[in-house]
Symmetry: C2
Subunit: 303 residues, 2 copies
DNA sequence: GAATAACTTGAATTAAATTCATATTAGAGT
DNA sequence: ACTCTAATATGAATTTAATTCAAGTTATTC
């Protein structure tokens, strides 16, 4: 008999396309999912997927069940929000600080969705640059910080978001254009264009260049588009998240290359005070980030 | 974690108001339901019911979950209909014959609902009186017979609907008005007003009067209202299902009394050819009858 | 104040889902 | 064609969870 568990699995399979990854999302093994889906197929006497070497593709019957899953899981989440409201006061403030400038790119739609679901929560984005965003939590000026830093104390918890790859962005005719991957030594003599943040907050510097003993000229700009314009007009190179440059690469505006053999990756977390971490709207805000980013950004990996 | 099982139980509890009866509907014991609901309450940290001596009353939180249950179970049923359609031809005929005249009272809304859900199935009600409705199945003139008779052979199956009580209906000032229950002997000398069917098809006669060796005058009429008019104007008494007379009793048009100590009860079934019994639209038609009757008729008991 | 008709509870049982370890399959690259 | 890789499938063992069983409570009715 159909259970929500099946629908949750179905949705995870649709999101990831693969049993192994879907299994991770629903905290099961790949084998469990295989058994589960097989049992579903037996129950309805239909095939729900076309098994290809590269994962599962939904059949029409599978799609119909997936549609049910989407509707149903949405309705369940809505009801659970209402239960939380019935239990007590769910109002609160959610002031957000960003450690990474590029996160603006995806934050707005996340906030929009959140405001629909939790109209009683005051969401705000703290503007401007902050030397140490985690301090904002301690001083009570923010309730949530998005970034790669993890908190030291026991008073704050880091809720995992996703891992993304940082690519070197270069002008079209750059001398390194023929390389598929770029090593630290290759970059000697370049000018690095970054957001106006301390050097040690730039992963390319702290994790690649500094260990290799290389120092580059720097130039800063506040906006991603401005950085890309500078790169395109040969004023230097930049290091930006995969998702932030993908569009410009596709438009042949700049080129982007992997850094080192495995690439330079960074983990993003949402850091919140432990006292607020259990609030339903907090966990849901994080859930919305994960869902929207997994759906909308290319080349990321949910943590 | 919430599962459809919980929602199915919740809906059953709402329909019946009692754990024992709800348990029957979802094929569990009452204890299982108690554990299940207790676990749900623990999971959400809320109370879902107010336990009274006479059953369970939903709290606001319980009502919200019940609303979710109604939406969700409807959506699931819809999806399962579509799966059946995707699997093959779901068209078919559903010609219905009635053994009991009073069933007209509830059949129309059932058919309406069915037509919405299964537009591709041709539903029809066979008009007129049939001496042996089960013969219509054998001769291929009907696909479903509603009545108390059970089929003899292995070629037909009886799907249980509900049990209802048959009451004696009498004019307001009748000599038996002071009795709470009426015995066979009390009825001696009365005129019995019935639908125009053979005597052995009238439960009061075959199960109460004949065993007691009592024969009454008979007078017949096609319509329930006409029978009630005759009764009200003192032309005789009648034996009709609880649900069919309830309104007229409430309006002080006639009075109705229980027959014997435990009452006279009759079981209603839907008899269908075995070959068609598995068709999704068949099981759903029966399901609609049970649901609508359980919700709309008083004094019945689902089988 | 017993009898009834509910629900609750904890332990025992049963059933079902999940994992583990391994097999199988399909496709890509050489 | 062959081997490597990245998938899913399978069957038995295990674990987990749900359900029943057998009393135990509680409220209400007559």
């Amino acid at each position: 008999m159909l259970e929500l568990r099946h629908l949750r699995s179905l949705a995870a399979i649709a999101d990831t396309g693969k049993l192994v990854q879907a299994a991770g999302r629903v905290h099961l093994t790949q084998s469990a999912l295989s058994h589960q889906m097989r049992a579903l197929e037996a129950h309805y006497g239909t095939t729900l997927f076309q098994r290809t070497g590269a994962g599962l593709r939904f059949t029409p019957a599978g799609q119909r069940l997936l549609q049910l899953a989407r509707e149903t899981l949405g309705a369940v989440a809505g009801a659970e929000r209402d239960l939380a409201r019935l239990q007590g006061d769910t109002r609160g403030d959610l002031r957000i600080a960003l450690e990474c400038h590029t996160c603006f790119d995806w934050l707005m739609p996340v906030m929009d969705e959140f405001r629909v679901r939790w109209p009683e929560v005051e969401v705000d984005l703290l503007a401007g640059f902050h030397s140490d965003p985690l301090d904002l939590l301690k001083s009570g000026k923010a309730e949530l910080v998005i970034g790669s830093q993890k908190p030291r104390g026991r008073d704050y918890v880091a809720l995992p978001l996703f891992r993304f790859e940082i690519l070197v962005v270069m002008p079209l005719e750059h001398r390194l254009r023929t390389k598929r991957r770029v090593a630290a030594a290759d970059l000697k003599g370049e000018t690095l264009i970054t957001y106006p943040v301390p050097e040690d907050r730039i992963d390319l510097v702290s994790q690649v260049l500094k260990p290799a003993g290389i120092r580059l000229e720097r130039r800063t700009s506040e906006l991603t588009v401005a950085i890309l314009q500078l790169v395109a007009s040969r004023r230097g190179i930049a290091a930006l998240p995969n998702w932030g440059v993908r569009n410009y690469v596709d438009l042949d505006y700049v080129i982007a290359r992997r850094i080192g053999a495995k690439g330079l990756w960074s983990d993003l977390h949402a850091v919140v005070p432990r006292t607020l971490a259990g609030r339903p709207y907090m966990t849901e805000f994080v859930e919305i980030i994960r869902a929207k980013c997994a759906a909308g950004l290319t080349g990321i990996e949910l943590l």
